[in-house]
C-alpha cells in the first residue's frame, strides 16, 4: 500500500516537472483564462443590468464560469499526453517495471487535480485583482476549486480513455473542439439560468459542467444553499468515479493490445 502511494507520488512528480518545463503550455493555460475573463467580462458587462440576472457585477458572476470552463478545457487534453507516452514507448517501459498499475493511473488523476487546483486559484486571484467580490468567503471559494478539480477529473479520465482507445490525435482534437463550447454555453457559465431559454435550462440540468457551477456559485454566495452544493457535488463525485473506472478499464484493454 505504502509502495503504491510512494510510486504514485514519483509518477505525479514526473508529470508535474514535465508541465513546468513546457513554458508554452504553462503560459497558455494561464493566459487563456485571463483572456476569457477580459473578453467575456467586457462583452457581457451590461447583462447584469437585465432584470432578473441577480448578480452585483458581471465579474463576480464570471469568475466561477471561467474557473470551471478552464478546468474542462485543460483536462480535455489529458489524452494527448497519454497517447504520446504510448507512442514513445514510455508507458510500456513503466509496464515492464514493478510499478503498481494503480500508481500509474492515480498519478494522472493526482497531477490533473493539482494542476486544475492551481489554475483555479490563480483565476480566483486574478478576479480579485480585477475587483470581483466573493461574499461566500474562503469556504465558498474552496468548494468552487474542489468542484472544478472533480469536474476536471471527469474530463481528464474520459480524455485518457479516449486516447488509449482510439490512439488518434485527430479524434481527441475533434471531440474536444466539438464539445467545449456547447458544454460551456449549455450551462450557467456566462448567463444566469433565469435568463436562459427554458429548453437550455433543462439541458443544463444534465450537464456536469453546470453541476460544478451550481455547486460553486451557491457555496460562494452570501447565503449558500448547501442542499444544492451537496447534490451537485455528490453527482460530480459519482461521475468522476465512473470516469476513472472507465479509464482503468481501457487501460486494461490497452495492455491486452500491446
Amino acid at each position: 500500500m505504502s509502495t503504491t502511494i510512494n510510486q504514485t507520488w514519483f509518477m505525479t512528480q514526473r508529470q508535474l516537472t514535465a508541465i513546468l518545463r513546457q513554458p508554452a503550455y504553462l503560459v497558455i493555460t494561464l493566459i487563456q483564462p485571463v483572456i476569457w475573463l477580459f473578453l467575456f467580462g467586457s462583452l457581457f458587462r451590461r447583462v447584469v443590468e437585465l432584470p432578473g440576472f441577480g448578480a452585483g457585477s458581471y465579474l463576480d458572476y464570471l469568475v466561477p464560469g471561467v474557473v470551471v470552463m478552464s478546468a474542462v478545457s485543460s483536462n480535455m487534453w489529458a489524452g494527448m499526453g497519454t497517447l504520446e507516452e504510448i507512442e514513445r514507448g514510455t508507458l510500456n517501459r513503466f509496464l515492464t517495471t514493478p510499478v503498481s498499475r494503480a500508481a500509474l493511473m492515480n498519478a494522472n488523476v493526482v497531477q490533473q487535480g493539482i494542476s486544475t487546483g492551481i489554475q483555479s486559484v490563480v483565476i480566483v486571484l486574478l478576479g480579485k485583482i480585477g475587483g470581483a467580490d466573493y461574499p461566500g468567503g474562503v469556504a465558498g471559494l474552496l468548494i468552487l476549486v474542489l468542484a472544478s478539480i472533480v469536474l476536471g477529473t471527469v474530463f481528464g479520465a474520459f480524455s485518457n480513455a479516449l486516447g488509449m482507445l482510439v490512439r488518434q490525435r485527430e479524434s481527441i482534437i475533434g471531440i474536444n473542439t466539438f464539445l467545449l463550447l456547447p458544454l460551456t454555453f449549455l450551462s450557467s457559465a456566462f448567463m444566469a439560468p433565469g435568463l436562459m431559454p427554458s429548453w437550455m435550462r433543462h439541458v443544463a440540468d444534465f450537464n456536469p459542467v453546470n453541476w460544478a457551477l451550481v455547486a460553486g456559485r451557491s457555496a460562494m454566495s452570501a447565503d449558500p444553499d448547501w442542499g444544492d452544493v451537496l447534490s451537485r457535488g455528490g453527482a460530480l463525485l459519482a461521475l468522476a468515479a465512473a470516469a476513472v473506472w472507465l479509464s482503468t478499464r481501457t487501460f486494461r484493454s490497452y495492455q491486452k493490445s500491446v
Binding site: 514526473r14 510500456n92 515492464t96
Partner: protein
C-alpha cells in the same frame, strides 16, 4: 560446466493480433544463464512480440515462458524485478534529464537514498553521459538516447537484460560504440542478455548463440559457427540479368545439380545460389551450363558461408528480401543486407 537452469525458457508461444495477424507461431527459445543470445530475423518475424511476452508486457495465446526462474504468465511481478528491458522504441522521458530518468527508474524498483544516486552516476559515467545527464533527453542524439535506454535497463542490476534492436536507426559510428558497450556488458558477472536484431553482422558479432526467426518461429539455432558450419562448402551466388520463368528455372537447376560437388541449387528471382565444395573451381562449370541454357549472367560471387546463407537455407529466402518485403512472393532486387535499416 555448471548446470544452472536456463535464464530464459519459452516454449510453443502462439500469439495472434486482431486482424488475424499471426505474430508468433510456435516460438520457443532457451537462453543459458550468463550468455548472450541473439534472435535474428527480418522485420515482422516476431522478435518484438517474443520480447514483449518474456518481459510481461504481452500475454501469449498459449505456450509457456519462464524468465529468471519465474513463470512470466503466472508471476509477472517476480519476473519484472529480475529483468531489465530496452524496448525497440526508446521509452525515456524526453522532458526529464537523463539523470532524472535514471533516478525515477531506480525508485520504481525500490532503490533509494545514496545507493540510488551512486548507481545513476555510475551508469552515466559508464555510458559516457556524465555531462549529458544534466540535460533534457530531447536534446540527445540517437546514440546517446540509446545508451541511456540501456542504462535505464541496468539501473536495478537485473539478472536478465532484454535488448530489442539496440542499434536499429543508429549511424555506423554509434552502432560500433554500442556494440563495444554490449560486448562489455556480456563480460559482466552473471548477466544474461537476450538481444534481437535484424542485422546479421550484429548477431554474428555479439551473440554466443543465435536463433533465426522467421514468421513467428525459430527456423535454425546454434552458435554462429555451428550455423555456418552446417552449410558445407562455399556459397556461389550468380546474379542473372533477368529472372527466368518457372520452366527455365527448373532446367537451370537440373543442369547445375549434375556437376559433382555442387549442391543446394536455389533460384530466387534473379539470384541463383548453390553450395560447392570448391567454389572457385565450380564457377567455370556453372557459367558454361548457364550459357548453354541461354541465360545471361550479370555477376558471380563466391563466398565463405555467411549467416545470410544460413538464413536463405532455413527460411527459403534471402534475408535482405525477407526484410524488405516479408510477404512478397517475388523478391525485390535489393543488393546488400542493410535494407530496411530505417524504421
Amino acid at each position: 560446466m555448471t548446470t544452472s537452469p536456463p535464464a530464459v525458457q519459452a516454449r510453443d508461444l502462439m500469439k495472434t493480433y486482431p486482424g488475424d495477424v499471426r505474430a508468433l507461431d510456435g516460438m520457443g527459445v532457451t537462453v543459458a544463464a550468463g550468455t548472450v543470445f541473439g534472435l535474428l530475423g527480418p522485420n515482422g518475424a516476431g522478435k518484438s512480440t517474443t520480447v514483449k511476452i518474456l518481459t510481461t508486457l504481452a500475454r501469449p495465446d498459449s505456450g509457456t515462458a519462464v524468465v529468471a526462474g519465474h513463470d512470466a504468465l503466472r508471476h509477472p511481478d517476480r519476473v519484472r524485478r529480475a529483468i531489465g528491458v530496452v524496448a525497440q522504441r526508446s521509452g525515456a522521458d524526453p522532458v526529464a534529464t537523463g539523470r532524472e530518468n535514471l533516478l525515477l527508474q531506480g525508485r520504481l524498483y525500490g532503490v533509494r537514498g545514496a545507493d540510488l544516486n551512486r548507481r545513476a552516476d555510475e551508469l552515466l559515467a559508464r555510458f559516457d553521459l556524465a555531462e549529458a545527464g544534466k540535460r533534457q533527453v530531447r536534446t540527445y542524439s540517437g546514440g546517446m538516447q540509446r545508451r541511456l535506454d540501456v542504462a535505464l535497463g541496468l539501473m536495478h542490476r537485473p539478472e536478465v537484460l532484454f535488448l530489442d534492436e539496440p542499434t536499429t536507426g543508429l549511424d555506423p559510428e554509434a552502432r560500433t560504440a554500442m556494440w563495444e558497450e554490449i560486448g562489455r556488458l556480456a563480460g559482466d558477472e552473471g548477466l544474461t542478455i537476450l538481444l534481437t536484431t535484424h542485422y546479421l553482422e550484429e548477431a554474428d558479432r555479439l551473440a554466443e548463440r543465435i536463433a533465426i526467426v522467421d514468421r513467428g518461429r525459430v527456423v535454425a539455432e546454434g552458435t554462429p559457427d555451428e550455423l555456418k558450419g552446417e552449410l558445407h562448402g562455399d556459397a556461389v551466388h550468380v546474379e542473372l540479368r533477368e529472372a527466368p520463368d518457372a520452366v527455365d528455372g527448373t532446367l537451370i537447376r537440373t543442369a547445375l545439380a549434375e556437376f559433382a560437388g555442387v549442391r543446394e541449387v536455389a533460384l530466387d528471382g534473379r539470384r541463383l545460389s548453390a553450395r560447392a565444395d570448391d567454389g572457385p573451381a565450380a564457377v567455370p562449370h556453372v557459367l558454361t551450363a548457364l550459357e548453354q541454357q541461354g541465360v545471361a549472367v550479370a555477376s558471380v560471387t563466391v563466398a565463405r558461408p555467411s549467416l545470410d546463407d544460413v538464413y536463405l537455407r532455413y527460411a527459403g529466402r534471402r534475408f535482405a528480401d525477407a526484410d524488405a518485403a516479408p510477404e512478397a512472393a517475388v523478391p525485390a532486387p535489393v543488393p546488400a543486407n542493410t535494407s530496411g535499416a530505417a524504421r
